[in-house]
């Protein structure tokens, strides 16, 4: 993965000291990457789907229509979109609690996602899972996992199964920078490397593990990519706000896994516009840093790239409007859907559909 293993890491700073991390300049070299216009329009549409879904969910929180917590990926859409386009329909995705975007990116319609947030019976999980556990097996979206690290191990199992069945499928595990410091990350990467599993580990490094700068608690500069050599697998470091950069890295890692050449790590440098969860205003980040990253917003940058390479403003507006219309329709349908029946409490503990543990 040499051609993409360039550092986009911002200005070098001592770990534990950098409370301001700037994005590097957007790489116009990718304007001329070998990615077709139709693929790029798909990447744009998926980024729009994620952004507009997340903004709608935020609005619904503010209207007090969504209970519990949620973790939005506004500002981090490029990686989810890139893999949504790069994966085959039968490949496996495993996401974290910040998984709304990864779910819609696999082609899951917005209505059951929004209905799940609203706790409705038509929700993706019948109202039983909620924001942090979105799953749609029929779309290859094998779950959103809220205890960090575990799903990297589980993705290995799906990859192992695919390898045994010679199905050619790959498993992708998305995770944040904070996950790189939990034991399960290291167990999973080692395990995948030992058995040459078709697993792609995607670290979306948004620079903060919850409320703490990742640099403050990590002894290496790139928390996922710098660990890869210890497990003898390749890693790529990319601008996580550039959908094309992530897409090219994804293609290479997926092809490697599919060919039986084993796992790899992709670390994307990105930034969430909001806090960790709905409870967090993100005040631990400086205005200077926030401004720099807001100016490095993946969607307007990609919009500009598409204009530069000849896509019309009208075509992009049509995409934005059609996504907005779909989200509007989905929102109204989800709001109108009934709550779960009380009987739903008792279903699907066991394979027989019920909950009984004794006779």
């Amino acid at each position: 993965m040499t051609h993409i293993a360039k550092s986009t890491s911002p200005r070098q700073v001592e770990y534990g000291q950098h409370d301001v991390i700037f994005p590097e300049a957007f790489d116009h070299g990718f304007d001329h990457a070998e990615i077709s216009i139709s693929t790029r329009l798909d990447l744009y549409r998926k980024q729009q789907e994620i952004r507009q879904l997340e903004k709608r969910l935020y609005d619904l929180f503010l209207q007090n229509l969504i209970n519990g917590t949620s973790h939005l990926a506004i500002g981090m859409e490029a990686a989810g979109a890139a893999f949504g386009v790069a994966l085959n329909d039968d490949d496996y995705s495993f996401a974290t609690y910040r998984g709304h975007g990864h779910t819609i990116a696999r082609g899951v319609p917005p209505e059951p996602i929004i209905a799940e947030m609203l706790g409705r019976s038509t929700g993706l999980l019948g109202g039983k899972g909620g924001s942090m556990h979105l799953t749609s097996v029929e779309h290859g979206m094998m779950g959103s996992y809220a205890i960090i690290g575990a799903h990297l191990c589980i993705a290995n199992g799906a990859a192992w199964s695919a390898k045994l069945r010679n199905s050619g499928q790959v498993a992708v595990a998305f995770f944040g920078d904070g996950t790189t410091n939990i034991g399960a990350f290291h167990e999973a990467v080692n395990f995948a490397a030992v058995y040459d599993l078709p697993t792609v580990f995607v670290c979306e490094n948004n620079l903060y593990m919850e409320y703490t700068s990742i640099g403050q608690v990590t002894p290496v500069t790139n928390p996922a990519a710098d660990r890869a050599p210890a497990y003898g697998i390749p890693a790529a470091l990319v601008d996580g706000n550039d959908a094309d950069a992530v897409y090219l890295a994804a293609q290479e890692a997926i092809a490697r896994a599919r060919a039986g050449d084993g796992p790899s790590i992709i670390e994307t440098k990105t930034y969430r516009h909001g806090g960790h969860s709905r409870a967090d205003p993100g005040t631990y980040r400086s205005q200077e840093e926030l401004d720099a990253w807001m100016a490095h917003d993946p969607i307007p940058m990609y919009h500009q790239r598409l204009l530069r390479i000849g896509v019309s403003e009208r075509e992009l507006t049509e995409i934005e409007m059609s996504v907005a219309a779909a989200i509007d329709v989905a929102t109204e349908a989800a709001k109108a859907a009934p709550s779960p029946s009380p009987e739903a409490l008792w279903t699907n503990v066991w394979a027989d559909g019920g909950w009984q543990w004794r006779n």
């Binding site: 496996y92 039983k128 749609s136 094998m142 205890i147 199992g157 399960a184 395990f191 394979a351 004794r358």
Partner: protein, 324 residues
């Protein structure tokens, strides 16, 4: 019919199912080349090869994660956690991931897998390699919990666990590995959730699990010579729990004793006692008595460990006193 050790019964049960179903896989630490540290899986690598019988790194989370991901995508994995004490380093996988996956996804995700583990004391391994953790497992909704006492049941319940569409924790008792029993030839498949009445009795019901079953039976023989006629039930699984067999027996004997190797507080017998108190209270002629390991970590010394885990003598004395 041939005499089979508990140890050999493990490999026989697994092999029976691996021959029948090519989606059955087996992974764990030292399980393949070494045949297991307890030699419970000897011969599986030779028969089924390294693709299906896999030696893993010492990575319990990775082992259970691999089993779960494989089970979610069409395989029937069996994972070994060498000592049940080690569940403490991968309990997230069991409790938060495997047990909840079906419910949280409203039925989208299935985890048909078996996690086998060496459980229990009496082998002088000290506090970190001797615990009985079946009560931890029983406390988690969404996993089935099996703990056989006899070689025949190891084979039959192993087959049932592997064929079960839900995740099963299968506890093999380290203190029973050398025990023997005549076991019929051919395919054996039991049903989970069926207790076995090993001894009929009229005066009281003793409910036991795993290593406590042969001790309860021996105690019953001693008590019989004193005129106390005990029924002895081997639960065989805690989830599903065969309360029907327990309560039917209590209804006829009017007394209930549990013999549990797990520490006292929140042991499985507390749940059994609670159910009996709720549902057959008016059949009882006296208090329900639990005979358990005290609520202490297990000591290594043979003298101390034998004091801690319920012995035949303690079972006899406790029941004699209570029935007196």
């Amino acid at each position: 019919m041939a005499q089979l050790t508990y140890r050999a019964a493990v490999a026989r049960g697994i092999a029976q199912e691996m021959r029948r179903d090519s989606s059955v896989l087996f992974l764990g630490e030292d399980v393949a080349g070494a045949g297991g540290v307890f030699k419970t899986t000897a011969g599986l690598l030779e028969e089924f090869g390294p693709v299906r019988v896999v030696d893993t790194p010492i990575s319990e989370q990775a082992i259970l994660g691999a089993a779960m991901g494989a089970a979610m995508t069409g395989m029937r994995p069996i994972a070994e956690i060498m000592f049940s004490d080690f569940f403490a380093v991968c309990w997230d996988m069991v409790v938060n991931e495997i047990a909840k996956a079906r419910y949280m996804t409203d039925g989208q995700v299935a985890c048909p897998l078996v996690i086998r583990s060496g459980n229990g004391g009496s082998v002088r391994f000290g506090a970190q390699h001797s615990q009985s953790v079946e009560n931890w497992a029983m406390a988690v909704p969404g996993i089935k919990v099996v703990a056989p006492a006899y070689p025949r049941d190891v084979v039959g319940l192993m087959a049932a666990a592997i064929r079960d569409p839900d995740p099963v924790l299968f506890f093999e008792h380290k203190g029973l590995l050398a025990s023997k029993q005549d076991v019929e030839d051919g395919e054996l498949v039991d049903e989970l959730g069926k207790a076995r009445t090993l001894r009929q009795g009229t005066d009281c019901t003793i409910v036991a699990l795993a290593l406590m079953v042969p001790r309860a039976l021996e105690a019953a023989e001693v008590l019989a010579t004193e005129g106390i006629d005990c029924a002895v039930l081997d639960l065989r699984s805690l989830v599903p729990l065969d309360t029907t067999t327990i309560l039917d027996s209590v209804a006829s004997t009017s007394r209930l004793f549990t013999v549990e190797e797990n520490p006292q507080a929140c042991g499985w017998g507390a749940e059994v006692a609670s159910i009996a108190a709720n549902e057959v209270f008016w059949d009882l002629d006296g208090p329900i008595v639990r005979i358990t390991t005290p609520h202490i970590p297990l000591p290594a010394s043979d003298i101390l460990e034998d004091l801690a885990i319920p012995s035949v003598t303690r079972i006899v004395e406790t029941i004699r006193t209570a029935m007196g």
